[in-house]
Point group: C2
Chain length 143, copies 2
DNA sequence: GCGATGATTGATACGAGGTATCACTGATGC
DNA sequence: GCATCAGTGATACCTCGTATCAATCATCGC
């Protein structure tokens, strides 16, 4: 999980200024351990609607945030460490997200391409379930 | 691809009435070979906004429509034949959708479950690329 | 220091896509 | 014939964004 300074450094390194508004958005984001909506950031950061959305988009473009797709189709965002293409395993009860470091469909993509003739350029893959802590009540009991 | 009568039968079998408004929505849907938005159905069917959305949701719940996730996170809908769980390969140029009958991540789900302790309940998997016809200009030419 | 320039901001309007409300309608059961 | 209830559609509202645009702020050359 990158610290505030690291993100600000990444912004500056790419020629973006670190302004009070951007810092407020970043702090709001850093205070959320899991995924969040832009709306949540707006409530926490004292920054205008447009600025929040612009900053979130910017961070996505710079690879500092990633999008998390929820089961119902909504998009959330999530701070990204220094990692590349990956997928998520989302707990539908507590919202915890587990990053899956390896992309498991690389081989499948090649198979599909030769079977269908498509030139495959991208994919979405997200998993949903209940994490260990949310399952615990199920497991300990005699029932 | 189910016919109008088949869908109406499925509705009636579950205790839903086949009304003129629902039939209009169904006809609008049947006239779209690929995926569509609820908005497109509204333009084609002479039915109110709420009715269109309600009908689309109903058909999803009954398993007669499926949701297609586009690369940018938007949701489209698509008529579903008599098939079960499947995934999509979407052409980003012409919008053509190829259904992938086999769910390729079943094994992966079991692996993930034992590795993470999650009880995995669902997943999204959609592929994006360019279909054969859209690639043709690339391929035939000398260039 | 000063003006020009360009990045950034935030209020606001707008748009897609969808839900909630509620009075009304029309079919159905008794 | 009447009560009931599913279905309808106008409307308001919500979420999650983008576009616009005047104002502001930092920086740079002079």
């Amino acid at each position: 999980m990158p610290a505030l300074e690291a993100i600000e450094g990444a912004l500056e390194a790419r020629g973006y200024r670190v302004t009070p508004a951007r810092r407020a958005v970043l702090q709001a984001i850093l205070s959320r351990p899991e995924h969040f909506t832009a709306e949540e950031v707006m409530r926490r950061a004292r920054a205008g609607r447009a600025t929040v959305f612009r900053t979130v988009r910017l961070l996505c473009e710079l690879g500092l945030l990633c999008r998390v797709l929820l089961e119902d189709g909504r998009l959330h965002y999530r701070l990204l460490g220094p990692r590349r293409h990956h997928h998520h395993l989302v707990c539908v009860e507590c919202g915890r997200v587990q990053d899956l470091e390896e992309c498991a469909v690389g081989g499948l993509v090649r198979e599909l391409a030769s079977a269908t003739g498509y030139e495959i350029q991208g994919h979405w893959l997200e998993f949903y379930g209940r994490c260990l802590s949310c399952r615990e009540p199920d497991q300990g009991g005699v029932r």
